[in-house]
Every structure is written in C-alpha cells, then in structure tokens.
C-alpha cells in the first residue's frame, strides 16, 4: 500500500527532477569562474575543428602580448602534448590536458589541471586560454568557467560549417576566421557567405578575420580580448559593490 496517499495501486511513484544533465558540470564551472574572476584572470575557451589554426593564433597572441600581458594556457589533446609544448616555446606557461578517448574538456578536467603545476601561473596571469579538443560538436556544451567562447574557423573549411554545426556557433561570443592570407587562393570561399551563415546561427554574430602567419587582423583580435577583459573586471567591481 502507498502510505503517502493511501491509493490502491501502491507501488508507482513519479519523481519530478527538472534538471539539466549538465547541472553538475555547470555548478563546478560557475565556481571556477567565480575564482578566476576574483583573481582578475580572464578565461577564454578556444574551440575549433582540428587544424583550424588555433595554436597558431595563440602563438601569435603570445608574441603580440609579450611584455604587455601575462598569459597562461591549457590545451586539451587526445593523446599528445604538442600544442602545450608549442605554447611553452612561445613563452606561455602551459600544460596539456590529455583526454584520451574523450572528445571534449569538462570543468572537472580543468579543475584537476589547475591543481597541477600550471595552477600558480593560471592564477597570476591576466589571460588564461583553454585550447579545447579539436572537435566541432562536443566541446560546445561544456561550461569550463570561461568568460568568453571563441570559435576558430579557417577559410579552408568552407562556408557551410556554421550551418552544419549550429550548436558550437550558438555558444560562441566571437568567431575568428583564420588563415585569411589563403583567401586569394580560394576563389569559391566568400567571407560574405560565411557572415551570412553565421547570422543564422548566432544571434549577435561577431567575426574577426585573422592571419596568424601574416599578422593581419591581429590588432582587432587583441582589442577584442582587452575589451572582454575590461568587461569581466567591471563585473567583478559590480559584484563587490552589491
């Protein structure tokens, strides 16, 4: 017998939960973000398909910011630490997060990485970059405690990628169109078509065209980073005031 309501069919109980499957990750990410914000660290999660030029972008960022801002980074990689090694050579304290068969980073992996050697640099830097695993589907849904999501999209990937992978672009605050130095060799790729596709998957599309190798567009990208940092720091002051 059901001892709650005394109904005849005793044994069936319905339990309402109404909770996102990501709620545990989101709570951990929110705690990370609070700590980063308190430390004055601006966290940028960079997502992309493999080979879109994300590490090259971060290397160029490191060169441009050298002597102006302190950077640190973690790179999610299925098996190797090549990206972390490249960033270390570019003067950015960095660590690899080896994900094995997992196709994405989650907040717990970032938290664990921060307990390692990179932790001190990650707390003392101004910009902390999280280079996500090269994948256009999975990483987007995991909050890592970042202040901004950036998707690196290369001109060689074709103009329909935003329409094919709307979830990643829906979560993006900025799309960096990389390797624009190759555009003269790609007559079928039009930046206008890419912008149009983005406008159908991002409510407030922002696109910056960059060539990491030639340096074109880097100033706009660095300016965007500084603006995001100012906004994150301002939110911290508001938080203290309230």
């Amino acid at each position: 017998m059901c001892d709650t309501c005394g109904c005849g069919d005793a044994n069936l109980v319905s339990v309402d939960v109404h909770q996102s499957l990501l709620s545990a990750n989101d709570a951990q990410a929110a705690a990370l973000r609070l700590r980063f914000t308190g430390d004055g660290v601006t966290v940028v999660n960079v997502m992309r398909s493999p080979g879109s030029g994300k590490t090259a972008l971060l290397e160029a960022t490191a060169r441009a910011f050298a002597g102006r801002h302190r950077l640190a980074a973690v790179s999610g990689d299925l098996a190797t630490s090549h990206d972390a090694d490249r960033l270390a050579r570019a003067g950015v304290p960095s660590a690899a997060i080896t994900t094995g068969t997992t196709c994405h980073l989650d907040a717990a992996m970032v938290e664990r990485a921060l307990q390692g050697e990179i932790g001190a640099a990650a707390r003392a830097c101004e910009y902390f970059f999280i280079e996500n695993v090269g994948n256009l589907v999975c990483p987007a849904i995991y909050d890592l405690g970042q202040h901004a999501n950036v998707v690196a999209l290369s001109v060689t990937e074709g103009v329909d990628k935003p329409l094919k992978y709307p979830v990643m672009f829906r979560h993006a605050d900025l799309v960096v169109l990389t390797k624009v130095d190759l555009l003269p060799h790609l007559p079928e790729v039009s930046v206008a078509a890419i912008r149009d596709a983005l406008a159908r998957v991002m409510p407030e599309p922002e696109l910056i065209e960059v060539s990491a190798t030639k340096g074109a567009g880097l100033d706009a990208w660095l300016g965007w980073l500084e603006q995001r940092r100012a906004a994150a720091l301002a939110s911290r002051c508001e938080g203290f005031g309230s």
Partner: protein, 114 residues
C-alpha cells in the same frame, strides 16, 4: 562522443533523486533533448542502454522527447522562422526560447511493498 559522459551524469542524478526510495526500481527515465542541445538522441540511447546494467538500473527504460529549437526576439518576443537570420525587424537579437537543453524531467519508480 560526449553522450557517454552525459549518461554517467544522468545516472548520478538518478541516484540522488531516488535516494529517498532506496529499494525503488527505476522503470522510466524521462529526458528531453533540445534540437540545439548538442546531444544526439540515438547516441544518448545507446549509451544509456550500455550503462544501465552496471549502474544498477537494469529495468530502466529511457523515454526521450525531442524538442525542436525555437528562436524568438529578445525585445518584442516575435518568433523567428527556421533558418532565418537571427535578427528581428524591430532591431532586437534573437534568443533561443526552446530546444537548447538536455533535461532530466522525471522518473517513474516502482517501490516494493514492505
């Protein structure tokens, strides 16, 4: 494939939700998957069926509801047509009003008589 990780999180949620009914058998797990949640329903189901035994819920059936994405203007509330530019005629930007999440809605349990 992040559906396996999601299913592990789902079984953790189930464990917490039924903690008050330690002898309950979980019969149905009702999950809502938004079109733009970034979750593949068939992969979620495969992962669920692969793990339910080892997570101690062998009787559990996954009831999936797929929820289409809906965008609406954040300013005036007008709905956007599918595939349209996500900018309203009024100048407002669109906001996803449905179909962006993957949610555990509810569980159906069978609680044995004492």
């Amino acid at each position: 494939m992040h559906e396996a990780s999601l299913v592990m999180a789902l079984f953790d949620q189930i464990d917490r939700a039924v903690a008050a009914h330690p002898r309950a058998r979980v019969q149905e797990v009702h999950v809502r998957v938004g079109e733009l949640a970034g979750v593949e329903p068939t992969l979620l189901r495969t992962a669920f069926e692969a793990f339910r035994e080892s997570r101690g819920r062998p009787e559990a059936a996954l009831a999936l509801i797929e929820e289409p994405a809906e965008w609406a203007c954040a300013k005036c509330g007008d709905a956007m047509a599918r595939g349209a530019v996500l900018q309203c005629a009024c100048g407002g930007a669109a906001r996803l009003s449905r179909g962006g999440d993957v949610f555990l809605d509810r569980l159906e349990l069978e609680v044995p008589d004492v």
